[in-house]
Symmetry: C2
Subunit: 423 residues, 2 copies
């Protein structure tokens, strides 16, 4: 008799943790992802802002499981689930049967009904998003250097980051440092210090998941770096010429979207109930009502804790859910009672502001400033996969710290775009 | 009175050396390139084969000259030269006036009248070329893993590299190591060791610029790595299904072009005579006949030495030409007689075969095997720009050497292809 088949869709934090924790269980695992790599999303903003190289925060999925012969990695895009026949349909027509299915397909950025803004205000979820944003930021300075018209030049040197959560804050901080420090001596026609970097948040304050004190500190630290923080007014229009904040139009050629996410289509595949963000509503055991063999975890699931609070869409929550599902699967296979419902242990919130300050909220312990940056930096190096990546990222940061020079200031992608039809 | 204006088009080895050597001269320098980065082309094959990351072999041009206030860097594409009015036209409509013009715009791969082959058999000249080839190589293995039909699977696992010069040899060696070593433990449905890697050379032997002995050694070393070397028969057809070698058709889904180059359009811009490869024919002083203020150097120039031999299109030759032009410009400005014609000092030929063998021909000294690999490796680390890159590349190689794992096995680019119309 063949072994119990666990099919995992999505190799993000949740999916990887699950497969990792299934080690030693009598199962055949298939992990399916659209991409060949796992991406360390918490540092993606550093690729978008030229601090890190793409390969420093991404690892081939199949390499991570090379010593696990029972784990099969498939590069493919799931497009449907057949709950009756228990199989996942891939875009290329293949059908992958399962005994247990785990959907961990994450989320994309959401434009609140304005999908047409995506072309002018890209979000940050994939490596390509990061290199696209990197290219746009660098090209804006290059074009400003060539531009004679002062109005156009001003628009080229205006950067609007929409969304005041950690990603928006982190992007704004590094872009400000690029303009005010890194690039200053390299341009001849423009003064890059004249660049205007705006962080726009519709809510009353930036970093809303942090305490008021840390949020205030974050704002002051950003302003010290030269970022103009706008709170309390939503963006009402994004276009190639600029952004409208409430009624005011600001000419800005580089817009970046960091405001809100939309879950992947896992709920739709299952015909399951979803919340407003499209996340599948799961039970306390992370299964879909009516299908105890189907789990939905990570950013594509709407999970509530014992006390009724929603679990946030952060990497530690995804990992904890992956670990929980592994335990449930192991218990079921062993014929033991499954663990009680998933409980979430909040590990804290972290965000950096530029290259030397951060805010860290670990519950009882709250840190800000340079010490917080080091705590943040060490934590992230620790969570990277493999010695090689840890060394590489540590070296990149050390180099930036010592020399002020970023190592990945490359404008790429443009010329091979014709390659769309490639095999 | 304004200073003498030197305009340099192209920031390859020739252009960079020239601008470097003009330091201290009473000139205003404008360096124009289509890309924002200088690329270390000798290691580009390592990006294409997942050994190195893009940012390890590319540097922002304007960063290299940040401490030279008289050097202005422009991101732009030259499209014409007006010899009468002494100006270079850029694609965006701007016109850049010069007193001295140096065209160092390099070369692209050439398909010998079969430009339609480019889509199926990409060449290797830019970072995007490298990531395109990397993506195709990795995707071929991924698709083979998913493929049920044995014939299609075989075609997916057949890699044909066309051209037996150093680039072709280097690509074939690393692809063979990927298939026979790095990837073996990671696939479940296929045995990557069954992959067929073919190196196809129309001439009688590979590495024709090397001695017969080194060329023979290279062939044996490749065959030991599992590469099938075909010499003496030209490729007569490239298509999505495979390659025709003479009369024989070989089903192969991944073709890479490493056979011959075509100069950039510098000769056409000038209305100057060109040789068969499109290179502008210049005088012994590297100027264009009739315009002593216009120099053409590097891969886009046809230069002959005192003894009538053509100068090869290699990095040291380009650098020597850049250095020579800097001397001529300095002499002219000082009112001194210009140095006699350019003379080329050949520094040798190098090529690697996989990750542990190489052939090195320094004239009197000829090396092969592991020692040659170390000579090659140290030479290339020495020629990289900046301590940061040297450390990073040394660390990548050391890591590969110790662990056998490549650090940049990423399939990227596909999803943002829609981004073509981006600003």
């Amino acid at each position: 008799m063949s072994k119990h088949r666990v099919v995992v869709v999505g190799a993000g934090f949740a999916g990887l943790q699950l497969v990792h924790d299934l080690k030693g269980q009598p199962v055949d695992v298939t992990i399916i992802d659209r991409r060949n790599h796992h991406l360390f999303q918490p540092l993606l903003y550093q690729v978008a802002t030229t601090l890190l190289a793409t390969s420093e925060i991404a690892w081939p999925i199949r390499r991570l499981f090379r010593n696990r012969p029972e784990v099969r990695t498939l590069l493919g895009e799931a497009v449907a689930v057949d709950r009756e026949r228990k199989s996942v349909a891939l875009k290329d027509g293949q059908s992958i049967p399962y005994d247990t299915l785990v959907l961990a397909t994450g989320a994309r950025h959401a434009y609140f009904g304005h999908d047409e803004w995506e072309g002018v205000a890209p979000g940050l979820k994939t490596l390509e998003d990061a290199t696209t944003i990197r290219r746009r930021i660098l090209l804006a300075f290059e074009r400003a250097e060539l531009e004679d018209d002062p109005e156009t030049r001003k628009a080229l040197l205006t950067f609007a980051i929409i969304g005041g959560g950690p990603t928006g804050v982190e992007l704004a901080g590094i872009i400000a440092e690029l303009a005010h420090r890194t690039l200053v001596s390299e341009f001849r026609a423009i003064d890059t210090r004249a660049a205007r970097i705006m962080l726009i948040e519709a809510g009353p304050r930036i970093l809303p998941v942090f305490t008021q004190e840390l949020s205030d500190y974050g704002r002051q630290a950003l302003e010290k770096l030269g970022v103009e923080v706008r709170t309390g007014t939503p963006v009402t229009e994004c276009g190639p010429e600029g952004v409208r904040i409430g009624e005011e139009f600001v000419a800005a050629r580089t817009l970046i979207w960091a405001a809100g996410v939309q879950a992947s289509k896992a709920a739709a595949w299952l015909g399951a109930d979803a919340d407003r963000a499209g996340r599948a509503i799961v039970g306390r055991d992370l299964t879909v009502p009516g299908s105890p063999e189907i789990f939905v975890i990570g950013d594509t699931a709407a999970v509530v804790t014992e006390d009724g609070k929603p679990v946030p869409g952060v990497a530690p929550a995804a990992k904890q859910q992956g670990a929980y599902v592994a335990k449930v699967v192991a218990s079921r296979l062993a014929g033991k009672p499954a663990p009680t419902g998933f409980s979430y242990r909040h590990q804290g919130n972290l965000a950096t502001i530029g290259r030397s300050a951060a805010v860290v909220d670990l519950g009882r312990i709250k840190l800000k400033g340079a010490l917080a940056w080091w705590v943040w930096g060490l934590a992230h190096i620790y969570f990277l996969i493999g010695t090689r990546s840890r060394l590489a990222v540590a070296m990149s940061w050390l180099w930036i710290f010592l020399s002020g020079q970023h190592s990945a200031r490359l404008i790429t992608q443009k010329e091979t775009l014709k390659d769309d039809s490639a095999p």
